[in-house]
């Protein structure tokens, strides 16, 4: 009996070891691509590596972190609040619009369903950089943009769509939705298709309205399916840089808006200095902030489940 138990344990250990061995190459790749850059950034953050000490950089302890705290001033705090607001607005809009569109795609007897799906997925197929600049020049440009061309036809004055913080926030949100909706629609569409139709048949027999069916069947059932994607999107939105930077802050084509998320703020106040030690310290602090938000988010999620 004891021998049998030991043998089984040995077999289990051997299996576990073999599993790790097979996963080894992938783990090494992950270590090189994900873990190593983080560790290296952390290492650089404790040195004075910059253009003045490129080959002869030294360990400077927490010096960069002390300096980095200067970046986290009132400007950073307002950028942080703006980032949270930006994430909230974008996530609410994304979920609502994606849910509505995915529900429409799931209407029975809908004709040309695949055509609509292809059109809706199209923004995803284009590189984000190209899409953003196309929106900037093709839609928002005050001289040649489509929006002002429409206004001109209606006899209205041209509008500077990216000229003020409020207008820039709205315009950036529109572009971000254009870029992000295909992913969310695909996920919700998949979730909707996986639902058991018998629940709806029962609900219909009970006389449930569309709102009641959505509230008591659809939403609770798709929630666990789309949750991981929502979490991923929250973080993609939170650390958004391209949309805001390319639309409003690119050097040589600033628009007058001073809208900042934490990343664009850190870029303007740290990364342009070519001080790699200092910039790494700022990156590590932002990384720690993101980890903190993840933990808080997970705790919130668990609390809700309980």
């Amino acid at each position: 009996m004891t021998n049998n138990g030991t043998n089984k344990e040995n077999c289990k250990r051997k299996d576990a070891l073999i599993s790790y061995l097979w996963a080894g190459p992938s783990l090494i790749l992950i270590a090189l691509i994900v873990v190593f850059p983080i560790l290296y950034t952390a290492y650089i953050s404790f040195t004075n590596m910059n253009v003045y000490h490129w080959n002869n950089y030294e360990f400077v302890g927490l010096h960069n972190y002390v300096n980095a705290l200067l970046v986290f001033d009132s400007g950073f705090l307002s950028a942080l609040l703006m980032t949270i607001f930006w994430t909230l607005v974008n996530m609410v809009l994304q979920l609502v619009i994606a849910f509505v569109l995915a529900s429409l795609l799931n209407i029975k007897k809908l004709r040309l369903r695949n055509v609509y799906k292809t059109l809706l997925i199209f923004p995803w197929a284009m590189p984000g950089y190209v899409s953003i600049l196309l929106w900037k020049t093709g839609m928002f440009n005050s001289q040649f943009g489509l929006l002002n061309q429409f206004l001109a036809k209606l006899g209205k004055e041209p509008v500077r769509w990216l000229g003020t913080n409020t207008m820039a926030f709205i315009s950036c949100t529109v572009v971000n939705l254009w870029l992000a909706l295909p992913f969310m629609i695909t996920i919700i569409d998949g979730a909707l298709q996986s639902l058991d139709k018998s629940y709806y048949e029962n609900a219909l027999l009970e006389g449930a309205t569309w709102t009641q069916r959505t509230r008591y069947i659809t939403v609770p059932m798709i929630k666990p399916i789309i949750a991981p994607s929502v979490v991923i999107t929250i973080f993609t939105t939170f650390k958004q840089f391209d949309v805001i930077y390319l639309l409003t802050q690119q050097v040589g084509s600033k628009t007058g808006s001073s809208l900042h998320t934490i990343l664009t703020y850190a870029y303007e106040n740290a990364f342009i200095t070519n001080n790699y030690g200092y910039s790494s310290a700022v990156s590590i602090i932002i990384f720690a902030l993101l980890i903190l938000f993840t933990i808080l988010g997970e705790r919130g999620g668990k609390g809700e489940k309980a």
Partner: protein
């Protein structure tokens, strides 16, 4: 069998990954390597073809490889001191010299070519190539912004010679989607001409910002009224399209704009920069000098080939041919006595502008000044903020960022 193949693949993968980055050791230079010079550049084909032809003729013993790099400045930072990955020279504007000199990857040119042999070069091109008293670039040609006008709307006799004449023209002609004059008013490279014309500066020679100097503030105040008669968005594409489509009668743009507008059928004129009434100095744009920089590693490992290539690049005929092929203004003063050059309207306009142009600062501090000055210009010209307050705030930010660089 499958298991064996999988093991083999995994071993190869691990070995190849672990070998990554092991090629950093400085091996002795073979004869073939010593006679091969790699030059990174970011230039258009017309320029490179002329350079390649001249180098083949003048340095038959050296194999010169001209390699176009899209992100040259960042790539150099990464591999500048790696003998297996770094180029031997690079052909680029002078404004990054300070960064690379501080990184200790550049060799002063005068340690290869005696200083007196550089006497034929225009003084301001050598000034541009100098950082902390050392000349790090062999100038080949330079660029300045030019005052360009569309003869269809602005006849030669209506070209403003002063900034007040320009303002009067703008007031008279700016309406119904047409503009008398447009420029990238909130981009530091373009606004620098106005600031320099007032005696102000974005970055002083000693590396301190000059954004809240009285003369800089005066320039920003004066320039603001011109910006108010231009469209709100004035990035590169909008300004060039307005001029190209005939919706803007005149502009300040680079020589690179001329072939495009000529292709569109425009009769484009090039005039001297208007004189600023307040200071009696013309708008004085930045001057960018394009030339050859030598990496320290190459100077140590391939001294003979490096010297041969540099001497070939000093050839007067090379600069003349580049001017004829691509409108590049020669850095050598003696080229301008050649009839072919003296007859070239664009090259001679650049020469005239260069008399007042200011070499773009080549100090590392300039990297942060572009962003800070861009924000200041946007605050003043586009958000209507108070000039003095915005300048003081920008100066403080610039000082903080410069401190953070060190």
């Amino acid at each position: 069998m499958k298991r064996k193949i999988a093991w083999l693949l995994a071993t190869i993968m691990i070995l190849s990954l672990s070998l990554c980055g092991c090629g950093n050791s400085a091996a002795p230079v073979s004869e073939e390597e010593a006679s091969t010079i790699t030059i990174w550049h970011d230039k258009e084909d017309a320029v490179i073809q002329v350079l390649q032809k001249h180098l083949e003729e003048l340095c038959p013993d050296v194999t010169v490889v001209l390699e176009k790099k899209s992100n040259l400045t960042e790539a150099l930072k990464m591999v500048g001191n790696n003998p297996t990955a770094a180029p031997d020279m690079y052909f680029f504007a002078h404004d990054k010299i300070g960064v690379y000199a501080e990184m200790d990857i550049l060799q002063p040119i005068t340690e290869i070519i005696p200083r007196e042999e550089l006497d034929p070069y225009m003084g301001n091109t050598l000034e541009a190539a100098t950082y902390e008293g050392q000349i790090y670039q062999l100038p080949i040609y330079y660029e300045t912004l030019l005052f360009l006008y569309n003869r269809r709307y602005m006849p030669d006799d209506a070209v403003p010679s002063t900034t007040e004449e320009l303002y009067a023209y703008m007031e008279a002609k700016t309406n119904g989607g047409h503009y008398g004059f447009v420029e990238q008013h909130s981009t530091p490279y373009y606004a620098a001409g106005w600031i320099n014309g007032f005696g102000g500066s974005i970055l002083k020679e000693d590396g301190t910002p000059g954004l809240d100097d009285e003369s800089t503030i005066a320039a920003l105040e004066y320039h603001k009224k011109f910006a108010s008669l231009m469209p709100g968005e004035t990035e590169y594409a909008t300004v060039n399209t307005l001029f190209n489509e005939g919706m803007a009668h005149s502009t300040i743009g680079g020589p690179w704009l001329i072939p495009t507008v000529r292709e569109s059928g425009m009769d484009v004129g090039v005039a001297p920069m208007p004189v600023i009434d307040e200071t009696q100095t013309p708008i004085s744009p930045y001057m960018g000098v394009q030339g050859i920089q030598v990496l320290k590693l190459a100077a140590e490992r391939k001294p003979q080939a490096v010297e041969q290539v540099l001497r070939a690049c000093m050839d007067q005929q090379l600069e003349i041919d580049l001017a004829l092929a691509s409108g590049c203004a020669p850095a050598r003063e003696d080229c301008y006595s050649e009839a072919a050059i003296a007859e070239d309207e664009v090259v001679m306009a650049m020469k005239e502008t260069a008399e007042h142009a200011v070499p773009m600062p080549n100090r590392p501090e300039m990297d942060v000044m572009w962003t800070v000055t861009g924000n200041l210009l946007t605050d003043v010209n586009m958000s209507g903020k108070d000039v003095a307050e915005s300048a003081a705030k920008a100066q403080e930010e610039a000082l903080q960022l410069i401190e953070a660089m060190k």
